[in-house]
Every structure is written in structure tokens, then in C-alpha cells.
Symmetry: C2
Subunit: 332 residues, 2 copies
């Protein structure tokens, strides 16, 4: 196999987050599904933004957060995603590049603006996300360059991509190229509602095509339509052999399921959980980076946990300190 240029290349929806505090009455009054990520159109986005409290903007996007995490760990990370040639697109591009991630996908010159996710933060620190995908619908197979995918140890795909037909084609193309080049394909199920939208296809992906599967308890239960975590693990074992599943369980840490083996990894200690957004994204970052370094699976889970613990100890879904140094301190 050729030498790799990247530890991980992520493909996902390139999104700028708009965060504002609100209360539960606002969620009810606007019929927002609490804690979920809901897709909205331009008109609804405009209406909701008009009603929203003053906000702050920061770059987001699930796979983009993960790639920033890989770079923060000292890994070689690349990203493929579509912004528009507008100010929010410039902000997205600046932030991900400034974090050390290679990002060369050309911006759409026309069409819908850069995607934004309106995030309503309630006093219980929960987040309700309303996403207008905007320019993300323009991401297509042409944005997936063969040489980039071939040059990555692992290609990491966001389940959210499945929400738009051209992005789904981009996803399938990346998977084909990676496998033809002998590379690994990782998928995150993204969100239980996303799993509900695409269950049959996600199950086929998880059980037949994907080499590394990320999910939390709600997502894996939604995938196999089972009620308990243990039942989900039984279903997982019946699927693709040689597939690693890394399952996150919040305060209970993570469970890594491999051929016949199961590793339970306790959660990292966190002084005070401030904001759980990005926990899954950063767990994936730590896990994938460690895997690309050839670390054993329980250590991959451990490093995923360290990265996740950092991101939930402050507001925002991207690390505030160099994860490389943090891992060194924690693991000696």
C-alpha cells in the first residue's frame, strides 16, 4: 500500500453554528424537538433566526469538528465539505485551516449560502439544533478526489451526508475509492433521528461495508431497533466480521466491539460538564487518530475518551487546548 498523506480524511456537512440561550417555553412555542438535530429550509431558518436571542457564531459540522480534533492530536487531517463563496464560508474555511486541517474543496460560486445550524441552549445546558443545509446540498462526487482518498489511512464519513442525494453519492464514491486502495472506511451514525431517516441503508452500510462504526447508545439502538445496549451488541456481532464498532455511553465510557472481543473503557474524569456538544465528534477524533497510529483498541477508546472529556469541559465543539499535550500528560 502506498505511503499515506493523511491519517484521516473526513467528509461532512460544512456548517457554521449560531448559538443563543433560550428557555423551554421558546422551544415549545416554536415546536422545536428538544435535543434533536432537525433539518429546516431557508424560510424556516429566517423565521427562527428572527425570533432567536442574540447569538455568537463559530465553525461547526460534525466531521469537521472531528478533523480539528485529529489535527489537535498532532495527526494529519483532511476535510471535504461544501461552503458557499460568502462570509460564513470564509469563516468556516479560515477556522478549519487555522486548526491545521487541509481543506481544499472549492466553494460554490452561486446557489444557497453557507450552511448554518441554529443552536438553542436551554438553562439545563441541553442543545436543540435546527440546521439549514444551504450550500451543503452542492457537495457531490466531483468534490471527492481519488488521490486524496487513496492517500488517507482512514476516510471518515458523517451519517448526516445521507440526507442529500449528491452528498450520498459523494459518500459512496469515497467508500469505493478507499476500499479499492486498501484503506479503511469509518462511519458515524450521527444522530438517532438521522438513523430513523435512513435505517435500511445505514444497516446495510454498518453490516456490510464499513470498517469502523461510531455510534452512541441511542443511535445503535435505533439502528437495530432494539431496546437495550446488550441487544444491540448481539446484533452488531451478527454483522460484518472484521468490523470495529466504537460505542459511546456518556458517563459510562465506551465499549469497543471487535471480532469476538469486547473492550469496556471507563470514562475520563471530568471536573464539571459544561456542554456535551462535540463529545461524540471528539471521541471519534481520538479513536481514529490512535487507530491510525496502530494503537490497540482499548487504548483507542481511552484516547477517544480523553479528547471527549476536554471538549465537554467548556462551551463549543472544538478543543480549546492542544489535545496532543493533554494526551501526553494523561498517558505519560
Amino acid at each position: 500500500m502506498a505511503r499515506s498523506d493523511y491519517d484521516v480524511v473526513g467528509i461532512g456537512n460544512a456548517i457554521v453554528d449560531v448559538l443563543a440561550k433560550t428557555d423551554d417555553a421558546f422551544l415549545k412555542g416554536n415546536r422545536l424537538a428538544k435535543d434533536a438535530m432537525t433539518l429546516i429550509d431557508a424560510e424556516r431558518a429566517h423565521l427562527l433566526y428572527t425570533a432567536m436571542n442574540p447569538g455568537i457564531e463559530c465553525s461547526g459540522g460534525s466531521a469537521a469538528n472531528t478533523m480539528v480534533g485529529v489535527a489537535s492530536l498532532g495527526g494529519r487531517a483532511g476535510y471535504i465539505g461544501k461552503v458557499c463563496a460568502d462570509q460564513l464560508g470564509e469563516i468556516f474555511r479560515h477556522d478549519i485551516r487555522a486548526a491545521g486541517v487541509t481543506f481544499a474543496t472549492p466553494a460554490a460560486k452561486s446557489g444557497p449560502p453557507t450552511a448554518r445550524c441554529l443552536i438553542f441552549v436551554t438553562p439545563d445546558a441541553h442543545r436543540t439544533m435546527q440546521t439549514y443545509l444551504g450550500a451543503c446540498v452542492e457537495l457531490g462526487p466531483d468534490d471527492v478526489h481519488e488521490r486524496t482518498i487513496e492517500a488517507a489511512e482512514i476516510v471518515y464519513l458523517e451519517g448526516y451526508l445521507w440526507d442529500k442525494p449528491a452528498a450520498k453519492e459523494a459518500f459512496r464514491k469515497a467508500m469505493r475509492i478507499a476500499h479499492a486502495a486498501g484503506r479503511k472506511v469509518a462511519l458515524t451514525l450521527s444522530d438517532p433521528f438521522c438513523v430513523d431517516r435512513h435505517r435500511a441503508e445505514f444497516r446495510e452500510l454498518a453490516d456490510q461495508h464499513v470498517d469502523i462504526l461510531f455510534a452512541n447508545e441511542a443511535e445503535i439502538a435505533a439502528l437495530y431497533q432494539v431496546k437495550t445496549f446488550d441487544a444491540a451488541v448481539v446484533e452488531l456481532r451478527a454483522g460484518k466480521s472484521n468490523r470495529i464498532a466504537a460505542l459511546t455511553r456518556s458517563a459510562q465510557g465506551s465499549v469497543v466491539v471487535d471480532n469476538g472481543q469486547t473492550y469496556a473503557v471507563p470514562a475520563e474524569k471530568v471536573e464539571r460538564v459544561i456542554d456535551t456538544t462535540g463529545a461524540g465528534d471528539l471521541f471519534a477524533a481520538g479513536f481514529l487518530w490512535a487507530l491510525a497510529q496502530g494503537r490497540p483498541l482499548d487504548m483507542c477508546g481511552r484516547i477517544g475518551g480523553i479528547a471527549a472529556a476536554e471538549v465537554i469541559s467548556h462551551f463549543g465543539a472544538r478543543p480549546e487546548i492542544a489535545l496532543k499535550d493533554l494526551v501526553k500528560t494523561k498517558l505519560g
Copy 2:
């Protein structure tokens, strides 16, 4: 005098802040004057932004922050300032309106983009500001509507406006209208470097035209080119009679100088100072709101101090809680 529609109308540079952490080596390497607000052109802004760490965006602008503070106190606030019809302009407009401030200045349809201030935060929590004024240069006398100014108890002007000729004309027009209508004119000196740029004119304004003057110790010393605070107060007394000067002294609280009277107001207690940005803006908000309610001057200083204490206890230059409630709690 006609009934007023506003307690205060502020006129200032409409700016979106871009904040990123950095270190002192970066400031030195890029020859940035630490703690100062420096004006930069589009090219320099592009270069600095490219070199800047990943950031977050939030609405700013000195007088805009003050008007948000007035609204948060339950006051009737209006704002005049120029954004471009672009995404950052929409963000600025959304945030100030969502905070309860009337803002109707039309966006520039073409020309430079909405202003941004690149804010470099060093580990000592100090901020170094590099401002690209962009669309602010388009603010002119036509944006100052006679009826709006006549309808405000106080018009509040930012010293920073003096940096651009058309904005300066807008400033002078607002002052003329306000005085002709028997209203009060307030001015903040903004920044010691801004005072250095416009000393002669600022001194004329302060000593002959302005009814309420805001300054911190560095600004008032720069205005009168004196070395001590007491010497500045002596100079102030020699100026316009019937002019109120509200001088902020950080941890030493504030001093209000009126015809022959001086009121020293101790600072509010703050658990932990997180970020001093916006302290002056919010002091002015509390002071002006209280003055418009007809409160005595020492109480105006006290309420200014309460508003300032809130804003320095967290990141960002706009209040995070309703100042109205906070003042009620503090004053009973």
C-alpha cells in the same frame, strides 16, 4: 419639550468582533500594539485574519454595546450605524434588534463589507484590537434622522466616529439637532489613541459642546495632556459649566464631576474578573439610563458600576443577564 421616544440613541461604528486566543509572541511578530485599538485596511485585515487562530464571531461596536446595555436595563434605546448588506451585517442587525434596540439605519448595498474587529486575546486576558472599518465609512449625515434625534432624551456619540470624515459630519449633525431640540449630548472619548488622533477637536467638544462626557483615566489624561487624575479634574472644571463628566477608574470605581461637585462612587464587587472588554461601554449604559430616569448623579455612577461589573464577570462585551433584574436585586 416634546415627549421622548427614546431614553438614549447611540451613534457608532457597527462592528462584528472576531475573537481568537493568541500569545504575546504573535503580537510581537505581527507588530500589534498590545491593549490598543488600531485601525487597519482591508489588505492588512486579510493578512492578519489568515494568520489568526480559529475564532468566534459576535456583534460588537462600542456604542452598540452601550445601547444593548440600556435596553437590558429596561430603557428605550435606539442605534444608528452602518453595516453592509452582507452576512456579517445581518448578524449585527439581528443581534442588536434581538437585544431590544431599535435599529433602522439602511445597510450599504455596495462598497466595503461590514466592519470587523479582530480581537487577539492573550493568556493574561488582555485584548488587542485590530479594526477594519469597512462599511462604517459609509455612515454619513443622511443616516441621522432629525425626528429620531429629537425624540431621544440623550444622544450618545462614540469618539471613534471621528476617525472618518462622513461619520464626523453625522456626529456634528446629531449634536446640532439634539441641542436645537433641548436634548442632551453625551460623548465617550473611546480610547487614548483615539484621543491622540483628534485631541484639539475632542477638547473643543468636551469643553464647549458636550453635556455628558465619559472617559477612563488614560483617556482624560490624554485629552488634557496631564499626568495625574487630579490634574485632569482641575482641567475639566475649567471647561464647560453645566457639563457632567463621568470618569471610570477600574477597581477604584468612578468619579462624577458636576458644577462644583464631585462624587466618588466605589466599584461594585466582582467575584472574578474574566474579561474587561465592554466595561466602559456598560458603565455608560447604566449611567445614561439612570440619568434619563432622573436619578441623582451618584446613583447614576452606582448603576453604571453595576452594569460594568456584570459585563467583566464573563467573556464578551454585552450583558448575559437582564440588567434590569440585577439592578433591582442590588438596589432593592
